[in-house]
């Protein structure tokens, strides 16, 4: 419609040798400027839904692991989700190491899932990789599943002592978050 008006106007209809009209330039410039401006407006409109600064400030968690006895586990909270910290017994470590990783759905060894020098300290998210339920096995007296690790009651996923998926619908091992030992008894997660 802009074109009709322009064509009817004897001043702007004048094409140069290349077949361009002066009006084309201003049309493209105006639409481009409006497009860039519109896209720039989208940035804050979208970004405001991302985690706010107070949420990000809670994105690291310090956990004191000194009181965990072998065979025990504790639940902590990391980014508003459960975090399992478990001190493995020598038997559990042996059971985990006895498995051929290549036979697993998500092949990983216990060494790959723990920190060097702390292979008895298993830190994982307490979130089943199937549909996000909290598996049982971290608290005293809870069912630990057929492989002695964790058991998710929602759809029956069994995790072994290295929290690797062994049986059931979950696609992968319980996630090991980024963490480090800040001292022999403290870990900083996140």
């Amino acid at each position: 419609m802009a074109d009709t008006a322009a064509t009817a106007n004897p001043d702007s209809v004048a094409e140069n040798e290349d077949g361009y009209r002066r009006r084309d330039f201003i049309n493209i410039a105006a639409v481009s400027a409006a497009g860039v401006g519109g896209a720039a407006v989208l940035l804050p409109l979208i970004s405001q839904m991302a985690p706010s600064k107070d949420v990000l400030a809670e994105s690291t968690t310090e956990v004191d692991v000194s009181a965990i006895e072998p065979g025990q586990a504790i639940k902590a909270v990391f980014r508003k989700q459960p975090l399992f910290v478990r001190r493995l017994t020598p038997q559990e470590i042996a059971a985990a190491d006895a498995v051929d990783p290549s036979s697993l759905r998500d092949p990983q060894t216990l060494e790959e899932r723990t920190k060097e020098g702390h292979t008895d300290m298993l830190v994982t998210m307490g979130v089943c990789t199937h549909l996000g339920c909290v598996p049982l096995g971290a608290a005293e007296g809870e069912v630990r599943g057929e492989f002695g690790g964790y058991f998710c009651p929602c759809h029956g996923s069994h995790y072994d002592t290295a929290a690797r998926i062994r049986k059931g619908p979950a696609p992968s091992n319980l996630l090991v978050p980024e963490y480090e030992f800040t001292s022999d008894t403290t870990i900083l997660v996140g």
Binding site: M1, A2, T4, A5, A8, N9, L43, P44, L45, S47, Q48, M49, A50, S52, K53, D54, V55
Partner: protein
Amino acid sequence: MSFPWAKQYTPANGLTKFLDEKLPLPRLVYNAVGAGYPVPRNLSYFWNFGVLAGFFLVLQIVTGVILAMHYAANAQVAFATTEHIMRDVNWGWMMRYAHANGASFFFIVVYIHIFRGLFYSSYKAPREMIWLLGVVIFLLMMATAFMGYVLPWGQMSFWGAKVITGLFGAIPLVGEPIQIWLLGGFAPDNAALNRFFSLHFLLPFVIAGVVILHIWALHIPGSSNPTGVEVKSESDTLPFHPYYTAKDGFGLGVALLFFFALVFFLPNALGHPDNYIQANPLSTPAHIVPEWYFWPFYAILRAFTMDFILPAKLWGVLGMFSAILCWFFLPWLDKSPVRSGHYRPLFRKFFWFGLIPTMAVLFWCGGAPAEEPYVMLSQIATAYYFLHFLVILPIVSQIEKPEPLPYSITEAVLGSDKKAVLGENTEPAV
């Protein structure tokens, strides 16, 4: 309805043909704000403000919906979540400043829009319904703005809510029960905050609905114009697109320059510092004033200081509401057959030297403390305000001798309608 020479929508491709048969939305847009809506060719920049008001309504809804994602309407945390928006949420400070100043700009453009209507008598037949719907929109805007100002739960929010709901307490016998019912308590608290939030979210969509009716009613007679002479022939009009989309686009650009100058450099210039203090039911700020856009009406409210049959407080409330309600009768108070103030010498004098200074005085007094000389000034101005609409306007429209009107819009623009007919020196026939 439109003029017989309005351009007809023709679907350009398969998709628009399909849509045109099943749901002719492109046709609706084309006829409403596209080339299919013929508009008088002589509109001045005063005719930009309807589109600008529409823009600021959309801006308020977009920023408001976003703020509601991060805000909690609970007296315990409302103030804290407002600060959370300002400090923690990505771009939250910009959303809130755009929303707060967006309300001010919505009122600025709507006030100019109303004054355009008053000067050019846009409320006269056949456009009474547009005007009536416009007054409804203005009342809804005032309610929405008031409730929105309560939400941050600062000192001004709290005491504003208390004072305004207290107005209803002026009603004899049932006033106090009504006030308690409105607040859901004896003072503003959680119940009031929650219902204000609910209604503050709802009303903008009601406004959008009435705006659609306002535009629908506008498209039946078509837009008015600065001469007040109705459209006679095709040479009097231009298609809305591209002529007025371009002109409105330019006007929008200018308005946004002012808007963002305020948002980015003076974001709190129109607010009150007291509202950055959390609501405290035990301590009233020294000087309670509403937001600037309510000042003229607040001045009328406080101008009534004498008990006369009814208590002064009730007179104030009645006066304040009548100041707007009397606009509903404007199409029948002003009987002059001539619309535009440009051709009404007596009306023009009363408009520029009566109504405009009166509004300025009311505005000034509404923001000032309730002491002399402001009280007396607001009393004089309030008296003139009602005199203007209820007495002067009807009399002027009877005794005034209007100046000669141009034969047509084309003649007003080009000096002679013949040129248009002969096709000389005219806009291209589009």
